[in-house]
């Protein structure tokens, strides 16, 4: 079994565009401000944490494929570009790169607009909107942007699916289909998604964005992070509850230590968090909970957890970080990253900054 290294990180979140903004928000450990989200037909607005507008026009929007795309595609593209920015090129050509985009709700903004038009008058529903409603659209755009992407998949699932995406990418690497693989988890928000989340968990604060990890088998590309393990996917069934699945994940990971970080999926919502809190009650080390700071980003939230854990290792704060993902309605999976070999050259900084820092 080959060793797997993390060779790039990317993030877009309510904290801003880039991993640095996400890291700073988590370091402050204060939930970001919420914004009201008008819900037609209700007097009281829903709650959300929005991704701030970028301070400058996103350069990749000049690409012909990305001109009319959804915010979700913009988030996924920005995170993927940041995560792959440090990859070497040979004679101007990038190495073959696999792309896995993981989504739970997908392009809800375009879907909402298109179906709204269909119900009003299908004869005038915009043909420009429909293709962007397809789950595979963001991955296609990201692949076109990154170039030399021979294999591209879109996975759907609950937030723990992000780790399944990593497993898929590792499979491609080990079978030598590609030399590197970027895994992206992304979501966008609108009132309809916030409404659905409210129906499931009144305390949830919806948010959007993306997170990305670039993986390689080549230690020379490593940021200094090695993937130690990913547990089995413990699917919730009529015989396996969410709580049991969370405990099974815990049992497949090392017990932890005072110097090891736990990056969990706690969002601050009593009911949704109960299973995960119980499973990790006796964790001996420090822990961070990105969703409690950034909001319920669904698949983006799962990706943020991995990015945050890796960033803590690359910064030298921790030698190892465990990630717990107790998904909302599919599965629980965990992962562990450790300090590993580091490449010589530093990573270039991403070129996108936020208009405002919360």
């Amino acid at each position: 079994m080959s060793r797997v290294f993390v060779c790039g990180l990317g993030a877009v979140s309510p904290a801003g565009w880039g991993v640095a903004a996400l890291g700073e928000a988590l370091a402050r450990n204060v939930p970001l401000p919420e914004q009201p989200l008008e819900r037609p037909g209700w007097a009281k607005p829903l709650r959300m944490r929005a991704v701030p507008a970028p301070s400058t026009r996103l350069p990749f929007l000049a690409h012909p494929r990305l001109r009319r795309t959804s915010p979700l595609t913009h988030y996924a593209a920005a995170a993927a570009l940041e995560a792959t920015a440090g990859l070497p090129r040979t004679n101007g050509q990038s190495r073959p790169l696999g792309v896995v985009v993981c989504l739970q709700s997908g392009c809800v903004q375009f879907s909402y607009r298109f179906f709204d038009e269909v119900l009003k008058d299908p004869a005038t529903a915009s043909p420009l909107l429909f293709p962007e409603t397809v789950f595979a659209a963001p991955a296609s755009h990201v692949a076109a942007l990154l170039e030399n992407t021979p294999v591209v998949y879109t996975l759907a699932g609950d937030p723990a699916c992000f780790l399944q995406g990593m497993v898929l990418g590792i499979q491609w690497l080990q079978e030598n289909y590609v030399k590197t693989c970027v895994i992206v988890g992304a979501e966008e928000t609108n009132w309809l998604l916030a409404d659905a989340l409210w129906h499931l968990e009144h305390q949830a604060v919806v948010s959007g964005g993306a997170g990305a990890l670039c993986l390689s088998l080549d230690p020379a590309l490593s940021l200094g992070i090695e993937l130690d393990r990913i547990t089995d996917a413990h699917t919730y069934t009529s015989r396996t509850s969410r709580g049991q699945a969370a405990r099974l994940v815990r049992a497949q990971l090392p017990p932890g230590s005072r110097s090891e970080l736990l990056c969990d999926g706690i969002s601050g919502s009593c009911r949704a968090d109960a299973a995960e809190r119980a499973a990790w009650r006796d964790w001996p080390g420090p822990r961070i909970s990105p969703k409690s700071i950034l909001g319920e980003g669904l698949m983006a939230g799962g990706a943020w957890q991995c990015v945050a854990a890796c960033r803590k290792i690359v910064s030298g704060e921790f030698h190892a970080a465990t990630v717990s993902m107790v998904g909302s309605n599919q599965q629980a999976i965990g992962a562990r990253f450790v300090h590993g070999e580091t490449r010589v050259s530093p990573l270039p900084q991403a070129g996108v900054t936020s208009q405002h820092q919360p």
Partner: protein, 414 residues
């Protein structure tokens, strides 16, 4: 552990065989009615009854007729009551494959499904309720969960009595083929000995209106590779395969339906909704699948084409087949079964894989009942009439919005 996993010491990747195949299509439920329908080249289009199409440009599609009784013995009454149309088709196909394979309830059995819409009809109901009666909350929490494809997958696992990792691939119209291909990879690399895989999609208003808005739907009849083709037709269905290593099947004494000998998948970034005009991505997928299977065009006895009936898809696919097959094209039978059942979206690749298995098992070729004038750009014969044939290996193509292409190669098992 998903990573690292205990990789068995293998001198060569294990051969992958199919021991169960379940199918629901507009031609019927289960193997026999479908085999008879595809063999005869029947068509199943009729006016859409599932939702309002009165203001659409096109008003017909291929709806599946589902039985009132579903195999829900292992489900709770609540689970059974919440099954939507897509979930019901998935359950019927999964149950047939499971029974045919003779599998017993198990743990750690991977389930890989391809779909584009999942429970979209439930999502549409959520939308209507949220917009039209915003203060009505009844059933909205249930709908918010039930429209998600992984919920439907979990119900299938509960209904068949197994558990294991669930992977949902949503690569648009290639999803079903990619799901089967992914299962094939899991078996070949030793991550599993058995995998249940396939695709499913039900007709829904949003997707129907979407293709209509693109003017991609045929206002006449779906005629893949016809010189005067004018669009695709939509359908619905599901197909599930029970895949396992040859060793596993032999140890159980299982009946082997066919071998899944090769899988290729590529990315064509040319355009979100248009393939490369010369079919570069499709060509690469066919080449990849053949290389892995150790076969050449001369070894392939039939191609079940993606063949949607749109101008751009069919011309690109024809170019790809011409380039891939070379001189062999002149005698290589090709047809698209979408002529009879329409485009089943995320289910298409899986349903067409089952059609290929039927062809291999029963030694016939499925004609296109609607073909009138073959496109002269096709160097290959397009099947117009039912016929028997001696088939050893067949290839199935699937291409999708976004540019993911997949080819599967199935081999006869005797």
């Amino acid at each position: 552990m998903l990573f690292p996993y205990d990789k068995p010491a293998l001198s060569a990747p294990p051969r992958v065989v199919i021991t169960g195949a379940g199918i629901v299509s507009p031609l019927g439920v289960a193997w026999r009615p479908n085999a008879d329908g595809f063999r005869a080249g029947r068509t199943a289009f009729r006016p859409v009854s599932l939702f309002d199409v009165s203001r659409q440009r096109v008003r017909s599609a291929a709806e599946a007729a589902l039985p009132a009784a579903l195999p829900v013995e292992r489900l709770t009454p609540r689970q059974a009551a919440r099954l939507d149309r897509a979930g019901a088709m998935l359950l019927l196909a999964g149950h047939e494959a499971w029974e045919q394979a003779g599998w017993e309830p198990a743990n750690h059995l991977p389930l890989v499904l391809g779909t584009t819409a999942g429970g979209m009809t439930v999502g549409e109901m959520y939308f209507r309720t949220a917009v039209q009666t915003p203060r009505r909350h009844r059933q909205q929490p249930t709908r918010a969960l039930q429209y998600q494809a992984h919920t439907q997958a979990r119900v299938l696992a509960d209904a068949l009595g197994f558990s294991g990792p669930v992977t949902i691939i949503s690569n648009a119209c290639t999803s079903g083929a990619n799901a089967i291909g992914h299962a094939w990879r899991l078996l070949r690399c030793g991550q599993a000995k058995r995998v249940l895989a396939g695709g499913y999609d039900a007709l829904c208003q949003m997707v129907f209106a979407g293709f209509d808005s693109l003017q991609a739907l045929s206002p006449t009849s779906c005629r893949p590779f016809d010189a005067r083709r004018d669009g695709l037709a939509l359908g619905e269905g599901a197909a599930i395969l029970a895949l396992e290593t040859l060793d596993s099947a032999r140890r159980r004494g299982a009946t082997i339906l066919a071998e899944l000998a090769g899988y290729g998948t590529t990315m064509d970034p040319y355009h979100l909704t248009q393939p490369h005009p010369q079919g570069d991505g499709a060509l690469a997928a066919m080449q990849q699948a053949c290389e892995i299977a150790g076969l050449e065009a001369t070894n392939i006895d039939y191609i079940n084409a993606h063949g949607t009936g749109t101008l751009l898809n069919d011309s690109a696919e024809a170019a790809a087949i011409n380039r891939w097959a070379g001189p062999r094209a002149a005698s290589l039978p090709v047809s698209s079964t979408k002529a009879g059942i329409g485009h089943l979206m995320g289910a298409a690749g899986a349903v067409e894989a089952v059609v290929c298995i039927m062809c291999l098992r029963e030694q016939w070729l499925p004609p296109e009942g609607t073909l009138e004038t073959p496109d002269p750009a096709c160097n290959f014969p397009i099947l117009r009439h039912p016929q028997d044939a001696r088939l050893s290996a067949v290839l199935s193509n699937s291409f999708g919005f976004g540019g993911v292409n997949a080819s599967l190669i199935l081999r006869r098992w005797t």
